[in-house]
Amino acid sequence: MSTPDWRAEPAEQDEEDEGFVQPKSRLPVNLRRDQPLVPVDTVAGRALVVVIAILTFLAALSAGGALMAARASEQWRGAVANEMTIQVRPDPRRNIEADLARAAELARAVPGVASVRAVPRTESDKLLEPWLGAGLDLIELPVPRLIVLRLNAAAASDLVAFSQTLRREVPSATLDDHRLWVRRLSTMANTIILAGVAIVMLVLVAAALAVAFATRGAMAGSRDSVEVLHLVGADDEFIAREFQNRFITLGLRGGGAGGLAAVVVIALLGWLASAWSATPEADQLQAMFGAFEIGWSGYGVVVLVAVIVAAIAGLVSRVTVRHYLKAMS
């Protein structure tokens, strides 16, 4: 085809036509172009952003909580999994130092016990300081003494038999198997982790459904525009991409807002926890639950959740649009 005619012929002015009489000064410099073909910033779009933000916030908090529980349980396991203690209670009729020595001797004889250490008096007194306060003369108090046993990770020692022997030989001593506690705490932590993961999954499904409904609404609302796009030569792929881009934008906006809110809340809680950790109660809590902070990987997880939400928004809207267009034709 040769050069089109409108290139050759300059705009001729036709005074009688109202459309031609226009102030020359209003010629804008930059063109507004490449606006989304699907109308943006409608009320439904804003509502979707809010819904996605709330869902992302909840999912990010759940993911952060699950991560915190996972870290705490890892810490307990590392610290106490292979450790046991023998507690020797003071008895006015018995010599506690002799009982301590006898119990340690018995423990050393058990196969699978790697090391045995009787905690010196000064050290065990110090352990009580947070509970009783310093400056108290503990010699006057009947304070139990501890023997710490380390086990070989691999060996399965017969602890039930040892526990019975110990009770027979040294009546004032009892065996504390930390591993029972670790197992219980781990079960609890695993439950928290599973619940967190389940909540994240549910929230993602809810986000997908919200986007699917919003897409259907937007498509029904732009039925006329979609028909015009078809008639000027757009294929389904092009139209689906337009919707997808729009919903990815909405998803990113909502996911970003929700993720940011979650990061702020987590950082705030971490700051409060560290401000409070000067007190002895905080030491106990921290021993139980680990430090209240999720670290960079935790913030990474929060950002990841937000990105996944946006990606789901794009994908779901694309699938919904293609489905809808197929049903339309």
């Binding site: 109202e18 459309g19 226009q22 209003r26 063109l31 172009r33 008639l231 000027v232 294929d235």
Partner: protein, 207 residues
């Protein structure tokens, strides 16, 4: 089902031809154009386009065919949230072309139809005549093989109507087959061309 608006219609449009599609209001001109555009399926009968039966077209071929046609709707059907510029550029944009590649061309066409100063306006603030010219520009921008214009001079004064008619004629000399649906006798008298006349659902050709 209601009465048949169009029946036993048999005609063809030659490449590079120019013709009017005429008949009283309600005769079925718009319906016929929608059939050609494949925006409407015939309840019975066949539509052949570019030598192919369109009822058996794949979706991709359908899109290819639509890209060979330009259409000016009677009610314009501009997208309300896009500017005049964006509306006119739409047929190029849906082809996936880069905006920088067609910007000059779109602006030039807009100037030519007298919308050079209105390219940033949205359709809701345009006059009927301006919308009409934007709709025509959108139909022309992709230089279609077949141009279907439904009452393209219905909203403009006679002066602009004459200019638009001349534009359509020039388009034909560049290789486009042009069909102008109109019931405007004065327009048809300005340039003599074959008339496809619709009456009582039938069509006959006045050469």
């Amino acid at each position: 089902m209601g009465p048949e608006v169009l029946k036993d219609i048999n005609f063809s449009i030659a490449p590079r031809s120019f013709q009017y599609l005429t008949g009283p209001s309600g005769a079925g001109k718009t319906t016929l154009i929608r059939l050609i555009l494949m925006a409407l399926k015939p309840t019975r009968g066949l539509v052949h386009l570019f030598g192919q039966d369109v009822s058996r077209l794949e979706a991709t071929t359908l899109t290819d065919f639509r890209r060979k046609m330009g259409v000016v709707f009677q009610d314009f059907r501009l997208l309300d949230h896009l500017t005049v510029y964006e509306n006119v550029a739409l047929p190029l944009r849906v082809l996936g072309k880069e905006e920088a590649g067609y910007r000059a061309e779109v602006v030039e066409l807009l100037r030519w139809v007298g919308l050079g100063e209105r390219m940033h306006a949205v359709p809701s603030v345009l006059s009927g005549g301006e919308k009409q010219r934007a709709a025509i520009a959108r139909a022309l921008i992709s230089r279609p093989q077949l141009l279907l214009a439904d009452e393209p001079t219905g909203n403009v004064d006679p002066g602009l109507g004459r200019r638009l008619l001349r534009l359509f004629m020039e388009l034909q000399t560049l290789g486009t087959a042009v069909v102008i649906a109109t019931h405007d006798l004065a327009l048809m008298e300005q340039y003599d061309a074959p008339r496809l006349v619709l009456a009582d659902g039938h069509l006959h050709v006045d050469a």
